[in-house]
Amino acid sequence: METFLFWFCGAAMVLGGLMTVVQRSAVVSAVWLIFAFVAAAGIFALLHAPFVAILQVLVYAGAIMVLFLFVIMMLQGPVLEGERRRMKPALWPAVAIPPLAVLVLVGTRIADHGTAAFTTPLPAGFGSPTHVAELLLGRYLLAFELISIALLVAIIGALAIGKEERKLPWK
């Protein structure tokens, strides 16, 4: 069952990713990306990270991608149009070779050394919201707080950038 789910979700993710890149229209790309993210949530679930999987759907596929779609809709015209011209064929190898090289490398590595399995047994409740929450508000409290500040700054920053004609309260 796990095997099937992995191949299913994995294939869906790769497909989603490829379609995101290939599709000309930004809207279609975004939709494919949501597809990939939902599949990623499946992968997380398979990796015993249920809480993360849920958040992946809620935050990523939900909130962030909605934001993207929102902006695309807001900007309308040019964004919805496809890209005007394709890349010059002469440059294709330049783009393709590095990732392919990495893939070849990975392939040879696996051929040489085989695969590695998960060995460590997992405690009960691993990856559950309770477990993650304990860590988040315990061991990683400082990081948690810092990230909250980062988010706050991002909010203010986005506001400052987006506000029209610099009508900011402090200017």
Binding site: A94, V95, P98, P99, A101, V102, L105, R109
Partner: protein, 655 residues
């Protein structure tokens, strides 16, 4: 080296004029002119009074203990280098202090009249007071560095006062020239001091200041191996300050300053600082016959050299200036032959009669509406009676007519030169004495005899100077007559009091210094003969000068045209020494600095080739690299990808 009596009055002798200078300088316009002038005179007068008080106290002491000190504070104390801010007065500095403050006071009073209508009245008196302060620091400084402080201070005041009327380009240039030439001398002075310091410092006991005169004298044997070098270096300093060959060139130009300044600084006091310094360092000079010989030779050469130039000058102050240079040569000559006391004696008498001559010439200039060219003077004898009589006294004194002050000092110098076996130097000195008499009489003749050659308007304004100016003249005239009587030599039945007074200071000098005199026969007959000869020679010079320039002007004209006028032109142009210095040092130096160093090395080589060259190299590399900086985000991303890939590959193959 014994414990010296403490005398806290010394500091007030020095500081009183400084106080005056500070008050006048700071309050400036808020101070009424009268108050400023009187304050300046009062502070110098106070200095003089205190000097007299200390002098009298000194008389009451036994000769061996006539050294009073007053240490104010430690100035520099680092490791075993100690320099104190302190003053000391012994017989030598007592003489100098009395002369400086006394003559200084008279000249201050004189200036009240002379500068009465000048805009810079207050500034003038502030500078003048500052000068007295510096000069007293020089004279009373407890150590060589304090002396140097005063030395530089008087140089500064000289600079300020020469360029006092800074409107005129010439005045400003002359002031700068004086300062710079003095600085060249200071270069030698500094190195001499360093040599002393480095030699003595390793051997000092704690608390001994290396530059203290007493300490140096105590350790004089240590200095013996380097005495010649020190002596010559210090003498370079003295040639600057006391206007000896080759650094005399600033003094004649310095006459651009107000006349009281010429009298005080460039005749009576500051220029004798070099002589004072050498006399002060006598314990060192007696260790080095070579340096002494150089001092004597340079002194004699300067005496005759400046004397010849004075023959052909037309500016009344320039004549006096060259005469000063010449007289300073005499003083150096005296020091060089070991007769330090005579050098100082001449410093004193010269201060009287030369100050007198300058002040009197100032009176003439004042009367002539600031005209200084003797060719348009003449016949002033009747219109300026006081000036005329006092000027005559000064002339007779400088010519060495018995029994005026100049006779005793000059005669003694010549005698000591003769008796130390330096016949050549004696001949030079003797010739120069005749020259002095001749050109001084030329000056008198052109100025006071004959008919007045000035324009109608100027002639109309000729008047005798006010009392503030004439009273100092009279006092100085009296001093020029009687000033020499303190040193009537033994062979004339005098007590040679002056020499005996200074004896403790020059004790070392007399023991070892007058090497020639030690085996010379002390022949009073010879002394009489020489004295008679020099008086006769002087009178001859005077008569000749009077006859040629009052009665037989045609002879003078013939002299001028002698050999196509070439010798005269050379003299008139001061042997072209200024031009030679200009061509040899100043212009090439300027051109070197400008074209080679600045434009060549700085802008061309370093900046052009190295700095901008490397910048160019960077620019070439950068222009290649800029192909990559094309502003395309995607290109950047691709670059990162490639880099990352290479990195991953490297990692996996290396590990």
């Amino acid at each position: 080296m014994e414990t010296h009596a403490n005398e806290t009055l010394l500091r007030w002798i020095v500081l009183a004029p400084l106080l005056g200078a500070a008050v006048i300088g700071l309050l400036n316009r808020r101070l009424p002119r009268r108050v400023a002038g009187l304050l300046a005179c009062a502070t110098v007068g106070l200095s003089f009074a205190l000097s007299v008080v200390v002098f009298l106290r000194m008389l009451g002491l036994d000769p061996e203990h006539r050294r009073l000190t007053d240490i104010l504070a430690s100035w520099v104390a680092y490791g075993n280098l100690r320099i104190d801010i302190g003053f000391a007065m012994d017989q030598l500095s007592a003489v100098m202090a009395l002369v400086v403050t006394g003559v200084g006071f008279l000249i201050h009073v004189y200036s009240l009249g002379y500068m009465a209508h000048d805009d810079g009245f207050r500034r003038f008196f502030a500078y003048l007071n500052l000068f007295i302060f510096s000069m007293m620091t020089l004279v009373l400084g407890e150590n060589l560095v304090m002396l140097f402080v005063g030395w530089e201070g008087v140089g500064l005041c000289s600079y300020l006062l020469i360029s006092f009327w800074f409107d005129g380009e010439a005045n400003a240039v002359a002031g700068k020239k004086a300062f710079v030439v003095n600085r060249i001398g200071d270069f030698g002075f500094l190195l001499g001091m360093f040599l002393i310091g480095v030699t003595l410092l390793p051997h000092l006991a704690p608390g001994e200041g290396a530059f203290s005169f007493a300490v140096m004298q105590h350790h004089a044997p240590l200095l013996a191996p380097v005495a010649t070098a020190i002596g010559l270096l210090l003498f370079l300093g003295a040639t600057g300050k006391s206007a000896q060959i080759p650094l005399y060139i600033w003094l004649p130009d310095a006459m651009a300053g107000p006349t009281p300044v010429s009298a005080l600084i460039h005749a009576a006091t500051m220029v004798t600082a070099g002589v004072y310094m050498i006399a002060r360092m006598n314990f060192l000079y007696v260790l080095t016959p070579t340096a002494m010989a150089v001092v004597a030779a340079v002194g004699a050469a300067t005496a005759i050299f400046a004397g010849t130039i004075a023959l052909a000058q037309n500016d009344i102050k320039k004549v006096l200036a060259y005469s000063t240079v010449s007289q300073l040569g005499y003083m150096m000559l005296a020091c060089g032959v070991g007769a330090f006391a005579m050098g100082i004696f001449h410093v004193m008498t010269h201060a009287f009669f030369k100050a007198l001559l300058f002040l009197a010439s100032g009176s003439v200039i004042h009367a002539m509406s600031h005209e200084q060219d003797m060719r348009v003077m003449g016949g002033l004898r009747r219109k300026l009676p006081v000036t005329w009589w006092t000027f005559l006294v000064g002339t007779l004194a400088i010519a060495g007519v018995f029994p005026l002050a100049g006779f005793f000092s000059k005669d003694e110098i010549l005698w000591k030169t003769w008796s130390s076996g330096n016949t050549v130097l004696w001949v030079i000195g003797f010739l120069a004495a005749g020259l002095t008499a001749f050109y001084m009489m030329r000056l008198v003749s052109l100025t006071f005899f004959g008919t007045n050659r000035a324009s109608e308007e100027v002639r109309h304004h000729i008047h005798e100077s006010p009392a503030t100016m004439t009273v100092p003249l009279v006092i100085l005239a009296v001093l020029s007559i009687v000033g020499g009587w303190v040193g009537i030599p033994a062979f004339m039945g005098g007590g040679a009091h002056f020499e005996h007074w200074l004896e403790p200071v020059f004790a070392g000098g007399h023991a070892a210094g007058t090497h020639g005199a030690a085996h010379a026969v002390h022949d009073t007959t010879m002394e009489w003969i020489l004295a008679g000869a020099s008086v006769a020679w002087g009178v001859l010079g005077l008569l000749l000068g009077w006859i040629v320039y009052t009665r037989r002007l045609a002879v003078a004209e013939a002299g001028r045209r002698f050999a196509g006028g070439l010798p005269y032109r050379i003299l008139e142009n001061k042997y072209y020494v200024d031009e030679a210095y200009d061509g040899a040092f100043i212009r090439p130096g300027y051109r070197l600095s400008r074209t080679v160093l600045w434009k060549g090395i700085d802008a061309g080589l370093i900046d052009g080739l190295l700095v901008n060259g490397s910048a160019l190299a960077v620019a070439v590399v950068a222009s290649v690299l800029r192909l990559f900086q094309n502003g395309m985000v995607r290109f950047y991303a691709w670059s990162i990808t490639v880099g990352l890939t290479v990195f991953v590959l490297y990692l996996s193959f290396s590990g």
